[in-house]
């Protein structure tokens, strides 16, 4: 996916004017936030599980090489193949190669964020194959030729009307000409079409929520069952997954699964939580003949080695997005790449370079709601500040901001000078603004006054000045009376 994060401000402004988007994002707020809170309330040991999950994942990250090698050995024992992809391009090359060797023409796909990182669909299409997204949200945005705007509800920005239009336009090729408006009917139409795609697919590609090192299995969590049909029907199954997704045992998976669905949608468990074991065994009624796992690095080892290691605990639940008021105002497309919201603002600069996404870590009030709801206890504000350090050190902030900060820092370390400078300014502003109590417009304050009045200073001078004067008066009075 092309990185457009440099246009964050412009894209955000456009998003803010979009009334349809505003309505759609309102659903996120009311749906996901309330439901998550209700689900968490029913789990009195929630904080305990969070602590366990954090510690478990930290242990894995400290021993990532060990667990990945153990996973590889187990998959190989099961008859599968593990491939190691250093970059997104490597991952695409490996996957296209497997598909080409199999003579694949149609590929079904379960939702995979790491696949979006690599623009896997683009690579498959360039190689002459048809790649069909089977998650309903991904299917919709594939028709619309758009990027996902939420990591678990990719088409959340689309209204029902827009979906009706898309289906009406694109389903004509299947001899379906009626414009459907009923929600269930829309889902059914998509289901009917996708059924055929599932059946005919030569290769099925999915992501994975967790890789189990002890058994070589992986866990696939969906609400639609599309992951299962994508995995089990074609002859060849490929899993594309980030290296940070490995965990030691099935027991560990059960710990993390207690957090995942509740944090994502407020469900206690998703509709389909499947444990996949690799190629079909002799006694299996179905399953692929060939099973491949493509482990992707794409800057994850850099994050592991640096200040951003804790971000690798993320299991892509989307809770941080749902609770972020900035995401809630501008939606996912403003962020310009695969990952939006708080986690997107940490991961995107790490993967595409901070110079290509310098605004993202700053587009945040550091209010901390994201860290509060993160099931994996990722200190998102702290990680965002780390990126801000980078933008400062590499002079990626606007000259105006840097200059203003410089002046402020200079004055802040010189209290006498500061008090002398501000005393006069505050007195003047206070005198001018006293009658009305605020300024509707003020030189240099355009960014504030475009939407707010600026309260004028209340005192006749600064606090420090008034306080000192009162102290002096008290001392004089005391001296008079002594």
């Amino acid at each position: 996916m092309q990185v457009q994060s440099l246009n964050f401000k412009a894209r955000a402004s456009d998003a803010l004017k979009d009334e349809d988007l505003k309505a759609a994002l309102g659903n996120v707020k009311n749906g996901f936030i309330g439901k998550r809170a209700a689900a968490v309330k029913l789990v009195p040991e929630w904080e305990q599980i969070r602590t366990e999950a954090r510690d478990l994942k930290n242990h894995v990250l400290e021993n990532l090489d060990h667990y990945l090698l153990a996973y590889e050995a187990a998959v190989t024992d099961n008859g599968g193949h593990v491939h190691w992809a250093g970059s997104s391009t490597d991952a695409n090359d490996i996957i296209v190669d497997i598909c080409r060797q199999a003579g694949a023409r149609t590929v079904t796909k379960g939702k995979s964020m790491v696949g979006e990182e690599a623009n896997l669909n683009g690579a498959l299409e360039a190689a002459g194959m048809e790649a069909i997204e089977t998650d309903l949200g991904e299917y919709i945005i594939q028709l619309a030729k758009e990027a996902p705007s939420h990591i678990i509800a990719p088409a959340i920005h689309k209204t029902k009307e827009q979906v009706s239009d898309l289906f009406h336009q694109h389903h004509a090729q299947y001899d379906l000409h009626e414009r459907i408006v009923d929600r269930s009917a829309l889902v059914n139409e998509a289901r009917t079409i996708l059924r055929e795609k599932f059946r005919c697919a030569d290769v099925g590609i999915t992501g994975a929520n967790f890789l189990i090192a002890e058994t070589g299995q992986h866990v696939l969590v969906t609400n639609e069952g599309n992951g299962d049909l994508t995995s089990n029907l074609p002859q060849i199954q490929i899993v594309i997954v980030g290296i940070e997704k490995v965990i030691p045992t099935l027991e560990d998976a059960s710990c993390l699964l207690r957090l995942l669905a509740r944090s994502a949608t407020g469900q206690h468990f998703s509709n389909y939580t499947s444990l996949m074991s690799g190629p079909a065994r002799k006694e299996d009624l179905d399953g692929p003949e060939a099973f491949h796992v493509v482990l992707v690095d794409n800057h994850r080892t850099e994050m592991l080695a640096g200040e951003l290691r804790e971000m690798l605990r993320c299991f892509r639940c989307g809770a941080c997005l749902n609770h972020c008021p900035v995401y809630g105002a501008v939606g996912g497309h403003a962020y310009g790449w695969v990952y939006p919201g708080p986690m997107g603002s940490v991961v995107t600069p790490a993967m595409v370079g901070i110079e290509n996404a310098p605004d993202l870590p700053h587009a945040c009030t550091l209010n901390g709601r994201c860290a509060e709801v993160c099931p994996m206890s990722i200190p998102l504000p702290r990680l965002l500040r780390e990126h801000r350090r980078q933008t400062f050190e590499r002079s990626l902030q606007t000259p105006g901001a840097r200059y203003g900060l410089g002046v402020w820092a200079l004055l802040a370390t010189r209290p006498r000078l500061y008090q002398w400078t501000t005393r006069l300014g505050v007195s003047l502003m206070s005198r001018v603004g006293r009658k009305r109590g605020h300024f509707r417009r003020l030189l240099l304050a355009g960014a504030w006054t475009q939407s707010r009045n600026l309260p004028s200073p209340q005192g006749s001078s600064t606090f420090m000045n008034e306080y000192r004067q009162r102290q002096k008066q008290n001392n004089d009075t005391e001296r008079l009376h002594s």
Binding site: H362, T413, S451, P455, P457
Partner: protein, 260 residues
């Protein structure tokens, strides 16, 4: 007598000295002697949140030094208090001597309402405020310092005050320090959502504990003619609301009936 150094905060110093004097009055009422050391300007948060650790450290050292001699340091702002308490130690992770001094200061520093209720165990002041009031929970104080119940406990003992909670009290108002001027469009959406919730509560007065949030929200309320009066809770508790509300003109004729 408990010795307290007041860290005034730059926004109180520049915009609303009344809050500083109210804080002193409350602390003295609670049994403290209060001093305001001269060598203070800012907690360093603007620099810290902009990734400028160098400047932040310089500013922090000044604050640490100025407030070393007090038993407690009290701050009428959750965000500045959280800078000192939660973040100063982080700044000095590879400077053992300053780390100790920073941790020492962090251990003695408190946000105003947390200090009054949790440390001084004082939650009642002879204040009166007749009418419906709603309260905004500033993010840093809430999430870094756990300031949520204390202001409510204090308000419950103000005679005549009736608290009507608005929806989403704990959702960010869109100030975020430099955020509000770096991303004014997004800030506008966030503050207008907040202002709408304030209006929806039906309260005629908005209170809070952070000048940043209060300037932001009152600025928006005033722009949309919402007719809501905004004060810092300290001013109400100290009985010092006979000054214009935040953003309110001195020339405004306020009908006593609408003062609530």
């Amino acid at each position: 007598m408990i010795s307290v150094g007041l860290f005034v905060t730059c926004l109180v110093d520049l915009h609303r000295p009344n809050v500083g004097f109210a804080a002193i009055a409350l602390l003295e009422e609670a049994g403290c002697t209060v001093e305001v050391p001269d060598s203070q300007v800012c907690c360093g948060q603007p620099a810290y949140n902009s990734g400028d650790d160098g400047s932040t450290i310089k500013i922090a050292k000044q604050v640490i030094t100025a407030f070393e001699r007090f038993q407690y340091v009290v701050v009428p702002s959750g965000s500045c208090a959280s800078m000192i308490v939660a973040h100063y130690p982080e700044l000095f992770s590879d400077d053992a001597i300053w780390l100790k001094r920073a941790e020492d200061l962090a251990g003695r520093s408190h946000e105003l309402f947390g200090f009054l209720v949790d440390i001084m165990k004082v939650d009642t002041f002879p204040a009166e405020h007749v009418g419906d009031v709603t309260y905004h929970d500033a993010c840093s104080g809430l999430r870094d310092l756990g300031i949520k119940d204390q202001p409510r406990q204090l308000m419950s003992n103000v005679s005549g005050l009736s608290l009507v909670e608005m929806e989403d009290t704990d959702v960010c108002c869109g100030f975020g320090g430099t955020f509000c001027v770096k991303f004014p469009d997004i800030s506008e959406r966030m503050v207008s959502d907040k202002a709408a919730l304030v209006k929806q509560s039906g309260a005629r007065t908005l209170l809070g504990g952070d000048m940043g949030c209060l300037l932001n929200i009152s600025g928006r309320l005033s722009r949309v003619d919402a007719n809501v009066r905004v004060f810092h809770l300290a001013e109400v508790l100290a009985g010092m609301t006979d000054v214009p509300a935040i953003g309110e003109g001195a020339g405004t004729l306020t009908d006593p009936a609408t003062k609530a």
